[in-house]
Amino acid sequence: MTSNAVRKIILSCGLAMILLPSSANAQSAATSSAMTSPVYDVNKEIKIDGTIDKIETNSSGGPIGTHLLVISAQGVVDVHLGASMAVTAKNLGLSVGESIHVTGMMANVGGNSVLLARILTTSNHIYMLRNEHGAPIRSLMPRGAASSANSQKGAL
């Protein structure tokens, strides 16, 4: 963990510690809420041209991952690239002041209005960040050690 990452974890955990204990265990009082991550619809896509004003790695509020604040004709747009290592600004070679073109769908995720970027175009690259269903490219599909429960009960 970098020191910045640690700081963000401390900050976000502090928030989580404040918010979670009372709600996380209030099992009997839980009520259902609708999913906030929207169903992606290519028919609702927009395209923006703009300049990167700020690059953020957001760990609270909106979806985790890399966000670009882009100054465009439509105003300042929060462009969400995704959460994997593959789409960090550094590894896409993005920098503040750079001109970009984004195709994506506006959505309210976790109370934040973000542009879910499907295609990011820079001066020398075109990056496919999501597929037509909105599934992030190279996203996580962890199985981890969950199969261990089966093994423990196995014939050994």
Partner: protein
């Protein structure tokens, strides 16, 4: 596009923060520049008679040069690490203080009781797996020496001269009782059994999935451990854009086993040396994290049964679950089942699968069939192909590694424009009925939404006849929106055999009142099931579910593993966690966060809440300063040795498991 996706990740790892890995799974010098020394004493508690003797052991984590401790006690005396209790009853506080940092120490309380008719010495001792200790008894013999462990576990052996040999795995509770019986009466001693290199002996099958410089990484293989801390050989299949798709020999390696089972494995392969952090659960099973700066990932290690290394042994119905990326880099998951006829064929019309390719779902595909292409009866490695007409699949070729005839590991080895998938296959009932889901089931799934990473978990109650009477679930959407302990409602929740003509697949719908989640479910023979989401609520998710046989709070020491996504990439955590009282947790974590390594991170101020219902509750793991971090999880008890977990905070989207060590 797969190539492009991999190029992205290649760039990432090229700049990942590099922290070296050193030391061992137990004590040892620290690779963590910002982690402080901590001390652990074994045995952690003891009750002995007056004037009784304890052979103590201390482990110092994260020291720089001096791993020794200084012993002291509030009463009684020390000679080296051997403590002799005072001649009066009462509690004694024993302290081990780091000689390198005298501000760091650990204490245990020794309860000194009345003398026994026979005094056994030492009265308490910690002993490594397969370690030997000679006990003596006071007074006139002969003595009848016996050893017992709880729950019928292997207690080790003791001869009639008092020579005791510990078992390979710590028994439940971590201790055994030595008794010496004579005409004068009896006396007892307690042995705390610790993990050691002797715990791992024989041939093991392993697999893990994660990230490396090429992006998605999937590995499965086998190795042999000699019981003395060495890996003597093996083979693995690696599917990575960074290294290629390689059948990779394992020529050797070492296992540095710590007393709590946390182990650093250094594995020498044809592609270079890699490091795993392994948390031993038993001599048969362990949790694995790829633990070096070039890759991260999570998986398991299981003792293999070479008697099942034959095509004829693979004669069963198998339910399987595989996940990864498609040829364009989109998330992909498949669950299904096939019949292996014992002659290497998976016939058509005896197989079915559900494919979710980046949100494009093909339900109940009956074109699936396949073949075993090869099998090495020495290693248990084989190759097989799964063939179907589902777009994006076609013929998929896998290397597989047999654990036994009920379970084998799969990793895809296709070159060119093909998916990269990996997972497990488990033996399955010959036919599936609604009665295959009957009781409470704990489950976790993970995948991706348009906003980013997604995970869900819960418990539901199935009637055995197609109705769901209720349940509870938690959902983590991108660590942004947390749906905590939402009710699964009877209304709208159901399960059916579908298609009814084949009787081999269940379509499960879980409704929380506002959203219905639909999963294709493939039961196994072990009261569990593979599941893949087939609705359009979440583009892709998949996971596993398990019949719940306990709803009680976890009790004992557990190995811990989680894997998932933080804001900057994949995070994998292993650890060993023990209760402190009824609400506290202690232990150590080992973390690989996108190639940054953190070892021996002690927990502090960590808490757990007992389940109010459905075996579901929460716990928080907080690590000590200065590497301060906090992770809050919902957990779902499966049975008295297994717990599923899902992270429910605004830090990351991870999920995993806890498996009881002792």
């Amino acid at each position: 596009m797969k190539q492009a996706a991999r190029v992205f990740a290649f760039l990432v790892f090229g700049v990942a923060v590099a922290l070296g890995v050193a030391g061992c799974g137990g004590g040892g010098s620290s690779p963590n520049p910002n982690t402080t020394i901590s001390v652990v004493i074994f045995p952690g508690t003891a009750s002995i008679p007056v004037n009784g003797v304890i052979n103590f052991t201390a482990v110092v984590y994260n020291f720089t040069a001096n791993g020794a401790v200084t012993w002291s006690a509030s009463a009684g005396s020390f000679a080296g690490s051997v403590f002799t209790a005072p001649g009066t009853t009462g509690n004694v506080t024993v302290t081990a203080t780091s000689q390198e940092d005298k501000t760091k120490s650990a204490t245990v309380t020794v309860m000194v009781g009345a003398a026994q008719p026979v005094t056994v010495s030492p009265a308490a001792v910690s002993l490594s797996a397969l370690g030997i200790q000679t006990f003596t008894a006071s007074g006139n013999g002969p003595f009848n020496w016996t050893v017992t462990a709880s729950s019928g576990a292997d207690p080790g052996t003791i001869d009639q001269s008092g020579n005791y040999t510990a078992p390979r795995t710590p028994p439940p509770g971590g201790t055994v009782t030595i008794s010496a019986l004579s005409a004068a009466g009896s006396g007892t001693a307690t042995v705390t059994v610790l993990f050691s290199a002797a715990t791992l002996s024989g041939q093991y099958t392993f697999s893990y999935a994660g990230e490396d410089a090429g992006g998605f990484l999937a590995v499965a293989g086998t190795f042999t451990a000699n019981g003395a801390g060495l890996i003597t050989g093996g083979v693995e299949d690696v599917n990575s854009a960074a290294t290629g798709i390689v059948e990779n020999p394992i020529s050797g390696g070492s296992l540095a086993v710590g007393p709590d089972g946390r182990t650093v494995a250094t594995v020498t392969t044809g592609l270079g040396t890699v490091t795993w952090q392994v948390t031993l659960i038993s001599e048969q099973h362990a949790l694995l994290v790829r633990f070096d700066t070039s890759a991260t990932g999570s998986g398991t290690i299981d003792q293999a049964n070479p008697a099942d290394f034959s095509v004829s042994a693979i004669a069963n119905n198998y339910s399987f679950g595989i996940s990864g990326i498609d040829s364009a880099g989109s998330p992909m998951a498949i669950a299904g089942r096939f019949l292996s006829d014992g002659a290497g064929t998976f016939p058509v019309n005896s197989a079915i699968q559900d494919v979710n390719d980046g949100g494009t779902v093909t339900q109940a595909d009956l074109s699936l069939h396949g073949n075993i292409l090869s099998l090495d009866s020495g290693t248990g490695r084989g190759t097989l192909e799964l063939i179907s007409t589902v777009p994006g699949t076609g013929t998929l070729t896998f290397a597989f590694y047999i654990i036994d005839n009920t379970h084998f590991k799969l990793v895809e080895v296709d070159t060119g424009s093909a998916p990269v998938l990996a997972g497990d296959a488990f033996s399955a009932p010959n036919s599936i009925t609604l009665a295959n889901l009957n009781g409470n089931y704990a489950f976790t799934v993970a995948g991706a939404q348009s906003g980013g990473p997604y995970a869900a978990g819960g418990v539901f109650t199935a009637s055995g006849t197609g109705t769901i009477s209720g349940g509870v679930q938690d959902i983590n959407e991108q660590a942004s929106t947390l749906h905590l302990a939402e009710q699964i409602s009877a209304s709208g929740s159901t399960y059916t055999l579908s298609p009814t003509t084949t009787s081999n697949r269940i379509l499960l719908t879980l409704s929380n009142g506002s959203t219905s989640f639909m999963y294709a479910v493939y039961p196994t023979s072990n009261n569990s099931f593979e599941m893949v989401e087939v609705d359009n609520v979440v583009p892709v998710s998949s996971g596993l579910g398990f019949l719940q046989s306990s709803t009680s709070a976890p009790s004992g020491t557990y190995g811990f593993n989680t894997t998932g996504q933080t804001t900057s990439g994949e995070q994998d955590i292993n650890g060993s966690i023990s209760p402190v009282g009824t609400t506290g947790l202690t232990g150590y974590l080992d973390i690989n966060e996108t190639g940054s390594i953190f070892m021996n991170i002690p927990l502090a101020n960590s808490t757990i809440v007992a389940p109010p219902g459905f075996g579901r509750s929460t716990f928080t793991l907080a690590t000590a300063k200065p590497t301060s971090a906090s992770f809050t999880f919902a957990y779902y008890v499966v049975d008295n040795s297994t717990v599923l977990v899902i992270e429910m905070d605004h830090v990351a989207v991870t999920l995993g498991t806890m498996a009881k060590q002792f």
